[in-house]
Point group: none
Chain length 198, copies 4
DNA sequence: TATGAATGAGTATTCATTCAT
DNA sequence: CATGAATGAATACTCATTCAT
């Protein structure tokens, strides 16, 4: 589903490093993950990390940046396939949940929860990469508002949904009794103006 | 509005330390706030901090614990004054927003965003203090469900709302064009099953 | 048995402090015993210690000095009562064991084992107070040598016996199957030239 | 004389660190020797110490452990070469004096005098390594007792001699008028039952 | 590219001591 | 005399980063 353009080959040393970094940053937090931890995870010595990344910041940035690119590409690709505005809203929610709970959950968690660990300069870079993604959300929600599908102002709704979705990483377990589709359905109910019976 | 039982007197040395800690932990993050930073903020020397708290962990815990207690007391007190279930749902949302964006916003931000920095043992303590607060939410939402006011299962809805509210700290600015009351209204729309016209 | 001249009254605040200091210094070592530990032991606050002693060094010095004085007085007094040289040697050994394992064992242990913790200047003071005590040992042993009671040179023998006696604090338990008298007998055997049958 | 199995190569960084640690721990005591002192002694920076040892405790342990191993090996090897029980007793004393006053005097002094500075858990490890050494002493002394060479019970005698020998570090100067052989002779006189004329 | 020893600035924490009350 | 909050220098230890091999 997700195209891998501009994404490091996961079987390369750099790719393995990024995957391990995402895993450890999620598990222990960025600041508590040492470069030595990371080196140990990929069975090299700490000094060798710096042949692949200039410094620890760069690793965090790369983890985040790759997931940002992947999310944007995935959303663009899936939105195209959706024909009604309702379907498009569903895609917005579903893709985000897929990233949070699917194969890229580690990197996505890092993007969402280690934001402040990133140095401000690089936060800006990520934000501008992420603008496209939010733009897609806004387009769909503005259309939905004009169609009377939603009630709350699109910008506010985007923030509300983003918050609700992000927070699922703290309580939702993929593989439990509630599927990601089921979860998507419930979030959709929140978003929509239920005036008739949807 | 908020009773101050079991809360450190804010004019005491300990109280000042806690307020400054909340401010700095919010601004720079717990792990990047040094004990020296904190001491400088209250114009004492770093060693003197340990006259008031056994270690840095204890400070984070105290900041969180006081806000947990205050939230619980505030919610209990306001819920009592609300007569309809609809009013009660509004109170759930309003109180949380008040804590996130009002006078206790620093401490509340720390509670919500520095969770992982807290050592696991103390996370447990906070969680059990917080159980009361969540219990209040559940009681109201279960009642609302039985009255047909909401559609999504109460537990899921609580998580969605909690996420949406928490996330407001990243984008909403109190004092802007949208008041906290206005913000509360919008969140309420999400929560409710709008079958007639609310 | 031990006269209390020049020794602090044990029921006075200073006396209680010294007794507690001896106890703690023996148990935890001087450097690991904090002024706060000591204050807690006598139920005062740490700042109050400095009304009784100028600094921590002084406490260690006082503990040592009092036991040095007491040992000297005890030995002088008991030697007088011994009539033969053999009896006197026995007294040398017995008194030392009595101090190491009797009521003053804490302070004696501190004197013997915390020597290096004392600042050099005060080590000199203790050494000169202790000269009298060693003088008594030397007088007795020189006489013993001239009578053919011992074989090894008196000065060496004094060191050997002193080492053997000091070391008993690491293995001998008063109140066990071997009494202090029994222990004295065994040390005496070492000291004496057993040419006939002692 | 001393085989170096299981002993760190003294020319390696770790070996140099251990030698310097032994020297400083003897001179100033363990607790008064700072990690910075130690680093300065080997001309590295304090942080680099922790490249070789996990913490300060480990350094003390390593110093003690190496000398314990060396003493055991030296004693085993020399005891084998002694044919009579009398010779063996002499070896017990001589080896201990060699360690206390010979090339390994620093480390041996640390083993004997910094015992309490070692954390209890590691004291146990040293004690169990040291059991072999004491076992050799006991075997020889028990044999000596059965041959009528000594009078005092072997276990007590071991403690007395150990104390007397340990104490020599406080007064005996190698290279003075009394040689280590001469010192050994004097201690031997203490140990033996001099019934005829030895 | 990988190693691993060394760096050096930084961290939380300790503790004897002071002093206004 | 006692208090207890504050001091401030010192401590062990951490860790991202460098660099000769």
């Amino acid at each position: 589903m997700i195209s891998q353009n501009r994404i490091t080959d996961p079987s390369s040393p750099r790719g393995k490093l990024l995957a391990s970094a995402a895993k450890l940053f999620k598990k222990k937090g960025y600041s508590k993950t040492t470069v030595r931890d990371l080196a140990a995870e990929v069975s090299i010595l700490s000094g060798s990390i710096f042949h692949h990344f200039k410094n620890k910041d760069e690793i965090l940035f790369a983890v985040m940046n790759e997931v940002v690119i992947a999310m944007d590409e995935a959303l663009k690709s899936e939105i195209k396939k959706a024909h009604t505005t309702l379907d498009k809203i569903r895609v917005l929610i579903y893709i985000e949940l897929q990233f949070i709970h699917g194969k890229t959950s580690n990197a996505t968690a890092v993007l969402l929860h280690e934001w402040r660990a990133l140095i401000p300069e690089k936060q800006q870079q990520i934000l501008s990469s992420r603008a496209d993604y939010f733009q897609l959300w806004d387009e769909v929600l503005i259309q939905a508002k004009s169609e009377g599908l939603i009630e709350v102002e699109p910008e506010y709704l985007r923030h509300f949904l983003h918050g609700a979705l992000t927070w699922t990483s703290h309580w939702y377990q993929a593989g439990g009794e509630l599927s990601i589709d089921g979860l998507t359905d419930r979030v959709l109910i929140l978003a929509l103006k239920n005036n008739i019976d949807q």
